[in-house]
């Protein structure tokens, strides 16, 4: 059984210490928004509104929120099929996100991409990659673009622990380091690659070992502690902007649900699940804000209720949106004419 990290890394935070009260509440809002969105996706799936499959990120919200907080609007972000959280943390329109999951014309990709392929180039959301590891070389290209453009942008790439076993990961890590690119590799180590525990597929649990093999700067953080994530991301982003090259940030986290819709995740030890549920990133952070006198229970409930309503109303509007036309010009979607 894999133990969750016992200690939060936030005690020694430096970047996080400088966050305003508003910023801190903002992180809570972002995480809660992602959770409420994913819960609504789950309900919508059961109602038959979401099709095929979907990969929820419940339990991993602190990684998306903490990293996004360290970014500028003109930075580039790439992610995976489990990428709803990253999209929302960058401000993707809720209704357009739901409409995409529902396969509707008003979806962020016109209903053509689906749950696994939310892309919103205007928000720097350059793509969700459904093939494990495939996004990493693309993120390296965006990092090279940033380096060449000279505007101090960074390219952030989110991926799971499973991706570190595929060749594209290694090629991307090597290229980013040898070219000193402003790329932040964010590994969401949730201990399971699809249905397999990390130790069934990988000789160790701490994947920072792999980054060391590329002489890359690393951070190993409690991915369920949003301030710890931010505290790792902020200096990494800052180094990247200053031309000091890439960083590999390993965020230890856990997905509350199975790999995808059809996976009840029975391969996990119930005691392990229970231990991690006790370390739910939103509850932990809410307690931390409460203890610091920044957010009362009533205020936290108020925020959650407000966001739940916002999410529900966006989902309802998306569900009422028209289907895309099967007679639209698909070749124009495929090629610039």
């Amino acid at each position: 059984m894999s133990e969750p990290p016992r200690e939060s890394g936030s005690a020694s935070n430096q970047a996080a210490a400088a966050l305003s009260v508003e910023d801190r509440i903002g992180l809570f809002r972002t995480m809660t928004l992602i959770r409420e969105f994913e819960e609504q996706v789950h309900r919508s799936y059961l109602e038959g509104l979401v099709h095929g499959t979907t990969h929820l990120c419940n339990g991993q919200e602190a990684v998306s929120a903490g990293v996004a907080k360290a970014l500028r609007d003109d930075d580039y972000v790439s992610y995976t099929y489990r990428g709803h959280g990253q999209c929302l943390a960058r401000g993707m329109d809720l209704e357009a996100a739901f409409a995409e999951l529902f396969g509707r014309e008003t979806g962020v990709c016109g209903g053509i991409g689906g749950s696994m392929h939310l892309t919103d180039i205007d928000r720097g959301l350059i793509g969700a990659f459904g093939i494990v590891g495939a996004g990493l070389p693309v993120a390296v290209g965006a990092g090279l673009s940033a380096q060449l453009a000279g505007r101090k942008q960074v390219s952030v790439c989110f991926f799971g622990d499973g991706a570190t076993n595929i060749g594209a990961f290694h090629e991307a890590m090597n290229m980013a380091q040898v070219w000193k690119l402003p790329v932040i590799f964010v590994c969401e180590n949730n201990l399971y690659g699809e249905f397999s525990h990390i130790l069934h597929t990988t000789p160790y649990e701490n994947l920072v070992v792999r980054a060391a093999g590329y002489s890359m700067q690393t951070e190993l953080v409690d991915g369920n502690d949003v301030l710890a994530v931010y505290d790792a991301a902020a200096p990494a982003v800052s180094r990247a902007r200053d031309g000091e090259g890439p960083t590999f940030i390993e965020c230890k986290t856990y997905r509350h649900r199975g790999h995808s819709r059809t996976d009840p995740a029975k391969y996990r030890d119930p005691a392990e699940v229970e231990a991690w549920l006790k370390r739910d990133p939103i509850s932990l952070y809410r307690a931390e804000l409460g203890a610091a006198g920044l957010l009362s229970d009533a205020e936290a409930e108020g925020i959650a209720a407000e966001l739940r309503l916002l999410v529900k109303s966006a989902a309802d509007r998306a569900a009422a949106a028209p289907w895309p036309s099967p007679t639209q010009d698909f070749m124009a979607r495929t090629f610039v004419q």
């Binding site: 580039y76 790439s78 979806g107 962020v108 990709c109 016109g110 209903g111 053509i112 991409g113 392929h117 892309t119 180039i121 350059i126 793509g127 990659f129 459904g130 093939i131 495939a134 990493l136 070389p137 693309v138 993120a139 390296v140 290209g141 965006a142 990092g143 090279l144 673009s145 940033a146 060449l148 453009a149 390219s155 060749g167 594209a168 090629e171 991307a172 090597n174 290229m175 040898v178 698909f330 124009a332 979607r333 495929t334 090629f335 610039v336």
Partner: protein
Amino acid sequence: MTANEKIISTGAAAAPPSMHEITYRDAIVAALREEMRRDPKTLIMGEDIGESGGPFKTCQGLYEEFGAARVRDTPIAEAGFVGAALGLALTGFRPIVEIMFSDFLGVCFDQIANSIAKHRFMSGGRVKIPIVIRALGGAGLRFGAQHSQTAESWLLSVPGLKIICPSNPEQAYLMLKAAIRDDNPVLVLEHKALLSMKGLVPAGADDVAMPTGPRVLRPGRHATIVASLAMVGKALAAADSLKAEGIEAEVIDIQVLRPMNVAPISDSVRRTNILVTVEEQAPTGGWSSDVVADVVSQAFDYLDAPPARVTLPDHPLPYSPHLEDALIPSPERIAATVKSLL
């Protein structure tokens, strides 16, 4: 007039560029150099293409002119740098990548087939992917089974790509320039055995456009021969020998594998009534199967004989010159196939 004839004639009409005789290799270099001068957002990446000028010297002099940032040596990591091309394209650059041997397309197949070819579509048409992937393929250089494939078939079945195959220096130049200006992913399959081929090429042509279909290289009324890459020259040689026997073969360069446009070939077959295809690939799953299928659909009543396909055998290519030469379609075999149908 075919689309490609139009390219050349418009290039000549605007400001008649002077023609000069250069090799296929130098035509590639000239196209790269001119387009990189024209658009500062272009850059090229590949293995040993910088100071070394490329293993086949297809990037000769580019590093000296454009520097290491735009003429970038990569690690031996095709998935890595081809994937990086997508990241560059999504963020405002116009990357060109060189795949040293077309055989290595297998290493980056996922990036091309699943990412590059689909990314615009999956975004609902909201991003553009201006990428050129140049790959040097083909047999005849005694490189053995892993360094001799044209790999035309591999990506033929992938929607979302354009695939073009220049068979002479002029096409290598014009088609590559057009590909670099195209806002879509274009796979340019070049042929190693053609690198030293000389031909007249316009200098500094500025009015270029992507070819949209096959091109008739030699008119004829008795048979239609369709070929690609190095097989075009073999087909032309076959047509020469057939001519001596009073048989006029029309030779068509397929030149655009994706999106494939067979209608002009069917037009030719309606006049000649005979179809022979020549492909430097194994017989299964190649472009000639599609050509035959479409011609049969489009011009069935005009065929005087079943179409014939001349291909490599259905096994990998051997190394020994004696064996390789025996297996690559020859002008004699092509001519004999044509005669067998008349």
